[in-house]
Symmetry: C2
Subunit: 216 residues, 2 copies
């Protein structure tokens, strides 16, 4: 890690996936260069904010001349670790687990789904997106053998704590947690808590704001 990469504020880290997504789009469109102003327009972040964000990682481009899209895309992908080939398992093959197992963007971003687990005999053995659902009793063995990096948690509320414990003990390096619980773990295991109701609440705020503006 470069010194400049240390202590990057979490708001900046959270913007990196957005930059990466947008640069992927530009790449697909065959765009070679983009100015920080054009990037700014698209991203709803000021151009100076973008330059500030990028400075945490050493800059990336020449001001005025703009950024090389392919280079910037690759560099941000590296920073995000998308070229590390992280593997993941999904625990909980309900509707959300199934939706995520079929979500083709994960693979496009460099993640490899290697297993789906459930404890329901009716679900074990069914096939989701070409993968057979395995019995969760074999979770630890599988993770140890395959050296799985990430556990995605989509089990019902009552099973969250046990699932977290088993995943952590088995040696996963990160958890993507879709349960209502806000997990906090030790330094060795990274966590991202996803709360599907958060964007709905933000949307509600924006709707309310629009209503009030139209009343003026």
């Amino acid at each position: 890690m470069k010194d400049s990469e240390k202590n990057v504020p979490s708001v900046v880290v959270k913007r990196l996936p957005r930059y990466y997504r947008y640069l992927s789009e530009l790449l697909n469109q065959g765009v070679k260069r983009i100015s920080s102003n054009a990037l700014s327009d698209k991203m709803n972040v000021t151009a100076s904010q973008i330059r500030q964000d990028f400075n945490y990682f050493g800059g990336f481009g020449q001001q005025g001349y703009g950024y090389n899209v392919e280079y910037l895309h690759g560099a941000i992908g590296d920073i995000l670790g998308l070229n590390d080939g992280d593997t993941m398992v999904i625990v909980g093959a309900g509707n959300l687990g199934k939706a995520l197992a079929s979500h083709d963007t994960f693979e496009k971003r460099g993640f490899k789904l290697v297993g789906i687990f459930d404890n329901n005999p009716d679900v074990i053995g069914t096939v989701i997106n070409g993968k057979e659902v395995m019995d969760v009793s074999g979770l630890e063995d599988f993770i140890g053998r395959e050296r799985v990096d990430i556990g995605v948690i989509t089990v019902p509320h009552g099973a969250v704590e046990e699932t977290v414990e088993r995943l952590v003990k088995s040696g996963v390096k990160g958890l993507l947690n879709f349960s209502y619980m806000e997990l906090k773990l030790g330094k060795d295991v990274a966590v991202e808590n996803v709360h599907l109701s958060d964007p709905l609440m933000t949307l509600s705020y924006k709707i309310k704001e629009n209503k009030q503006e139209s009343k003026r």
Copy 2:
């Protein structure tokens, strides 16, 4: 809207759902008061940042003495518009649509799911979480009649543009968009784009950071 509510930065708006969730938890635990320091610990935001955030909405509490949990919870809920009883429809009853239709947190946050739509004859008429999936051909009529506030988009890629157009024409006030497309609409319709791969990318960053730290 109070003058102080104008031009709230979007990072602050994005933190409001997290405050609200945490305060809901505290309420459930019977906690009456919380200091900004305790709130700060739990939220991974500095105490001064919390005070700054709350100042956009006129403050809420006395420094040193802490915040009244019930009052703060209610006030933030009001700001988020959670007491407006917003109604919503889900368009696309695939795995993700089903998962969201069964997501009990939406209702807990004050949103009311009034309809689920699909275009697949095998899916129309099936029941999800007590609601019968309706034929999407009746979408406009239903939204007009029921004055639906929010459209949740969980259709396959190819159907996104048409779905957005139909929802907007029917008069919804906001879209919760789970498609890969980053939607931008006119001022009248609010949008939240949800990209399920973003938290996975952020997790990947954290995993990489942990690895590099343990190598030092």
